[in-house]
C-alpha cells in the first residue's frame, strides 16, 4: 500500500544543470538538432519521479502495514495480489458502497531529514564569480544540513467493484507539484483476472519497483540502471520513470504468474505531448515458485522498445524559428531488455533482488544527431550493460537491513574518441529502516542510509555536485549520508 518516493527530486536543480550541459556538445553543430533539443529542454526541467506512500488501504481493511509490505513501501506477495486485483481483497466488500461515507482513501508522505552530500572532482572557480585570473580547480564539493523530501499526496482505491483508480499529485521539496500518476483501471474484465486494463499515467510494471524500494538518499535513492543514458545521448528515457499510455496486464490467482503489455506515448511521461508522436511498448513477464525451505522465488524478463525523434519541426511565422510541439520527426529506435528476480532465503527473512539490463540507443540518438544530417565519422550506436544486486534482511517486521551494489559498463561508445569506460558507474548503498510501531492508521520509519556512486567522466545521476566532472576521464565519487523520519498518515 505504500509506494515509494525517491529523493531525486530533492536535488532536481543540480540534475537539470547536468543535463543542460550535455545539450551543448554536438547539438550546436547541427541546426535541426539544436532546435529540437532546445524544444526538449523544458521537458527535462520538470521534476522527475517521487516516492509515493499510503496507509489508506490499511485503514480501509484494518490490516497492519506488514500485511502487504515486507517493509513499507516494498510490497510482499499478498500486497502484490491486492494491487493486481485492483486494490481489492476480493471479499465482496471492496466497492466503495460498503465503506463508511466518511472514509477517504488518501495518504500523505514526507521525510524530514538531515543529509550530507559530497562529490569529488568538481570544477570550482578559484575566484568566486570567475573571470579575471580565476581558473577551474578540481575540488570536492560537500554540503550538509537539515532538509525535507518531496511530498506525496496519494489517493487510490476503487470507484466501483472492479474499477480502480490512482491519483498522485507529488511535490518536490520546493513545493512544485506534478502528477506522478493518474489512472483508471478496469479490473477482471470478463470475469478474468488475466485481463486488466489501465489507462493514464502509471509506473511501469517493473518486477523491482523503484517507487517502493527502501532507499532514500540522493545517491542510493534511485536505481542507476533505471535512469542511465550514455554521455551525449539524447534519449531521456528511464525505465524507472512513470509513463503515459495504456497497459493490459494479467495474473494468476496468487500472482505467481504475471504479464503486462503497455503501449506508451513517447514523451517520457510528460503531459502536453511536448515532443513525439510515436509510441513505445513495454512487455514484462514473471513467474514465481514456492520453495518451502526458502520462500517465494520470482523470476522475470522485460523488454522496452521505443523510438525518439531527432528533428523538431519549426515555424518561423513569428520571425524566429519556433519548435512545433508534439510534431518532431526523424524517429530513431532504442531498447532496453533484461531480467530480474525477487528471491528469498531463510523462510523469507533474507531477500535478494538481482537485476540485469542491456541497453541500446541508435547512433543518431547516441550522438544527438538529427536524422536529416550525416552522422559524424567514427559514430556508433551506444550499447551498455547494467545491473544490481540488492539485499534486505528482515530482522523482524519492524526492522530491516538493506544493501545494494550496482554496476553499469559501456560495451560500445557512441564515438570512437570516447574513452572505453566513459560513463561507467559503480554504486553502493547500505542502511536500515526501523518501524517503531506498526498500526494500520499511519506509518513511521527511522531511516539511516549511506550510499556512494562512482561515475566516470560524468556527473552523478543523483544530481550531486555542480553538474559536470572536472575531467572527462576522471572518476567522480559522490557520497550521501541520510538520517530521517519517513512517515505517512
Amino acid at each position: 500500500m505504500f509506494l515509494r518516493t525517491s529523493f531525486l527530486r530533492l536535488f532536481a536543480g543540480a540534475r537539470h544543470a547536468t543535463r543542460s550541459s550535455r545539450w551543448s556538445t554536438l547539438a550546436k553543430a547541427i541546426a535541426g538538432a539544436a532546435v529540437f533539443f532546445g524544444a526538449m529542454q523544458p521537458l527535462y526541467a520538470l521534476p522527475v519521479q517521487k516516492v509515493l506512500a499510503i496507509p489508506a488501504f490499511a485503514r480501509k481493511y484494518g490490516l497492519p502495514c506488514s500485511a502487504c509490505h515486507t517493509a513499507w513501501p516494498e510490497l510482499n506477495n499478498f500486497g502484490q495480489v491486492f494491487r493486481d486485483n485492483g486494490y481489492q481483497l476480493m471479499n465482496d466488500r471492496d466497492s466503495p458502497i460498503y465503506q463508511n461515507p466518511t472514509y477517504f482513501p488518501i495518504t500523505f508522505r514526507i521525510t524530514p531529514n538531515w543529509h550530507l552530500e559530497s562529490t569529488t572532482h568538481q570544477p570550482v572557480d578559484s575566484i568566486p564569480g570567475g573571470g579575471g585570473a580565476s581558473i577551474s580547480q578540481d575540488k570536492t564539493v560537500t554540503t550538509h544540513g537539515f532538509d525535507l523530501s518531496g511530498l506525496d499526496i496519494w489517493t487510490a482505491g476503487t470507484l466501483f467493484k472492479n474499477v480502480s483508480f490512482s491519483v498522485l499529485p507529488s511535490a518536490n521539496s520546493a513545493g512544485a507539484f506534478h502528477f506522478e500518476n493518474a489512472y483508471v483501471r478496469f479490473d477482471n474484465l470478463g470475469g478474468s483476472r488475466w485481463l486488466n486494463l489501465k489507462f493514464g499515467k502509471f509506473e511501469l510494471d517493473n518486477l523491482i519497483s523503484e517507487k517502493r524500494f527502501l532507499f532514500l538518499s540522493a545517491n542510493g535513492g534511485l536505481y542507476q540502471t533505471y535512469h542511465f543514458v550514455p554521455l551525449g545521448d539524447s534519449t531521456g528515457f528511464g525505465v524507472g520513470d512513470n509513463q503515459i499510455g495504456v497497459e493490459l496486464m494479467g495474473h494468476s490467482a496468487k500472482s505467481y504468474t504475471r504479464y503486462s503489455v503497455a503501449l506508451l506515448s513517447s514523451n517520457e511521461g510528460q503531459v502536453g505531448l511536448p515532443s513525439s508522436r510515436t509510441y513505445d511498448s513495454y512487455l514484462t513477464f514473471s513467474q514465481a515458485f514456492q520453495v518451502s525451505s526458502l520462500g517465494l522465488q520470482r523470476f522475470g524478463a522485460f523488454a522496452y522498445i521505443g523510438e525518439r525523434p531527432t528533428v523538431t519541426q519549426t515555424s518561423s511565422a513569428s520571425g524566429t524559428p519556433a519548435p512545433i510541439a508534439g510534431a518532431a520527426t526523424g524517429n530513431k529506435p532504442f531498447y532496453r531488455v533484461g531480467f530480474a528476480g525477487d528471491l528469498y532465503a531463510l523462510r523469507g527473512k533474507w531477500e535478494f533482488l538481482p537485476y540485469y539490463v542491456h541497453g541500446y540507443d541508435n547512433a543518431f540518438l547516441g550522438t544527438k544527431t538529427a536524422a536529416n544530417m550525416t552522422l559524424p565519422p567514427g559514430t556508433h550506436a551506444p550499447v551498455w550493460n547494467g545491473g544490481f544486486l540488492e539485499s534486505h534482511y528482515y530482522v523482524s517486521p519492524q526492522f530491516v537491513l538493506t544493501g545494494r551494489y550496482e554496476i553499469i559498463r559501456m560495451a560500445q561508445q557512441a564515438l570512437d574518441t570516447n574513452p572505453g569506460n566513459l560513463g561507467d558507474i559503480d554504486a553502493y548503498s547500505f542502511g536500515y529502516r526501523w518501524y517503531p510501531f506498526m498500526y494500520s492508521r499511519a506509518g513511521l520509519a527511522f531511516h539511516n542510509e549511506y550510499s556512494m556512486a562512482r561515475s566516470r567522466g560524468t556527473a552523478p545521476l543523483s544530481g550531486d555536485g555542480v553538474g559536470a566532472a572536472f575531467s572527462p576521464s576522471s572518476g567522480v565519487w559522490s557520497r550521501s549520508l541520510l538520517i530521517g523520519f519517513d512517515f505517512d498518515f
Binding site: 484494518g62 481483497l89 471479499n91 465482496d92 490467482a253 517465494l296 506498526m438 494500520s440 549520508l481 538520517i483
Partner: protein, 292 residues
C-alpha cells in the same frame, strides 16, 4: 570525503536509533508481545507440517491487527471492522468453518482452508497469496491460543455424499425446508436477504450482534464457494454463531435440496451451473484438493 569519515558519520544514526528504541513506549510496539496458552504446536495438512514458532512471526505480521496479541479477537482494528463482525477469538477454540461436527475442534486442514479462503463479506481476507508452508505454520500457531487443542482431538469429518440432481423438484423441496420445515427464513428472511424477523436479535458467542448471511448478494459463502461447501455448512453449523448444525435433522438428500434452493436466491443463478466466481472455484480447488 574519505570513506572512513562517511562511515563514522553513519554512527549518529545508529545512536539515534538506540535512543528511540529505548524511548518508544512498549505499548506502541504491538509486534513484541504475543501471548499463547500452550507450548509449541504443530499442524499437519497433507504432506505439510506447520510449526508454531514460525507461525508466530507470521501472526505478528499478518493477523495481530485484528485478532490481537492474545488471540482473543481484540486487535486494534477489531472495533472498526465492516458490519461490526468481530474477529475470531482463538482462545475459546470455537471455529465457524469445519468439516467436523458441531462442538468439535476443526481439522488442521479446515483452518488451513479458512486462512487461504478468507471469510467473504467479513474483514477476513483470503491469505491465499501466502505460501502453503506459511499457512500451515499459521495454523500451528493459532492452535497455541486455546488449551482445547492440547486437551482434545477433532472428531472425524462428517460425510459429504455425492450431490443429487439439481432439478426444479429438488429446488421446490428445498424451498419447503427453508420456508416451512426448518424455518430458515426466521433469520435469513423470506427471500434470503438476511432480514428475517429474528435477525436483529442474533448474537455470537461473545454477545456481539451478528447478521445472518445475505444469500442474494454474495457470490460465495463464508466457508466456501461450491455446493459441497454450502452443504457442509448446513450439516456442521457455524460454531460460535446462532447457525445450528442440521446433520441430525435433515437427510443428505434434503441437504442437497436446500443447497439447490438457496442457489436460486442468488441473482445470477442458472440451473445446473455452479454460481461461483471463477476465482472462487480456483481457490476452492487450491485450498481443499491439492493437499489431500
Amino acid at each position: 570525503m574519505k570513506l572512513g569519515v562517511s562511515v563514522v558519520a553513519f554512527l549518529p544514526g545508529l545512536a539515534c536509533l538506540s535512543l528511540m528504541a529505548g524511548a518508544a513506549p512498549c505499548s506502541a510496539q504491538i509486534n513484541i508481545h504475543v501471548h499463547t496458552a500452550t507450548g509449541p504446536a504443530e499442524s499437519h495438512i497433507g504432506n505439510l507440517t506447520g510449526h508454531s514458532e514460525a507461525g508466530k512471526q507470521l501472526y505478528r505480521r499478518f493477523c495481530i491487527g485484528c485478532h490481537g496479541p492474545n488471540g482473543d479477537g481484540k486487535g486494534e482494528n477489531a472495533p472498526y471492522l465492516a458490519d461490526g463482525i468481530q474477529p475470531r477469538d482463538f482462545t475459546v477454540g470455537l471455529f465457524k468453518c469445519r468439516s467436523t461436527v458441531s462442538g468439535s475442534l476443526p481439522l488442521d486442514s479446515d483452518l488451513f482452508d479458512t486462512v487461504g479462503r478468507g471469510l467473504v463479506t467479513t474483514g477476513m481476507p483470503s491469505w491465499g497469496p501466502l505460501t502453503d508452508q506459511d499457512r500451515a505454520d499459521l495454523v500451528a500457531f493459532i492452535k497455541t491460543f486455546s488449551p482445547r487443542f492440547e486437551e482434545e482431538k477433532p472428531e472425524k469429518p462428517i460425510p459429504n455424499p455425492a450431490e443429487s440432481a439439481d432439478t426444479p423438484e429438488s429446488q421446490k423441496r428445498g424451498e419447503e425446508l427453508y420456508q416451512k420445515t426448518l424455518k430458515c427464513f426466521e433469520c435469513h428472511g423470506k427471500s434470503g436477504r438476511g432480514d428475517g424477523p429474528s435477525a436483529p436479535t442474533l448474537r455470537d458467542n461473545k454477545g456481539n450482534p451478528i447478521p445472518p448471511y445475505d444469500f442474494t448478494t454474495g457470490s460465495r459463502f463464508k466457508c466456501g464457494a461450491t455446493n459441497a461447501d454450502l452443504y457442509r455448512i448446513f450439516m456442521t453449523g457455524l460454531d460460535g454463531t446462532p447457525m445450528p448444525a442440521w446433520s441430525d435433522w435433515v437427510s443428505p438428500d434434503q441437504g442437497w435440496d436446500l443447497v439447490h434452493y438457496l442457489r436460486t436466491l442468488q441473482v445470477n443463478y442458472k440451473t445446473g451451473k455452479s454460481k461461483t466466481a471463477p476465482q472462487s472455484r480456483e481457490k476452492s480447488k487450491e485450498n481443499t484438493a491439492k493437499l489431500k
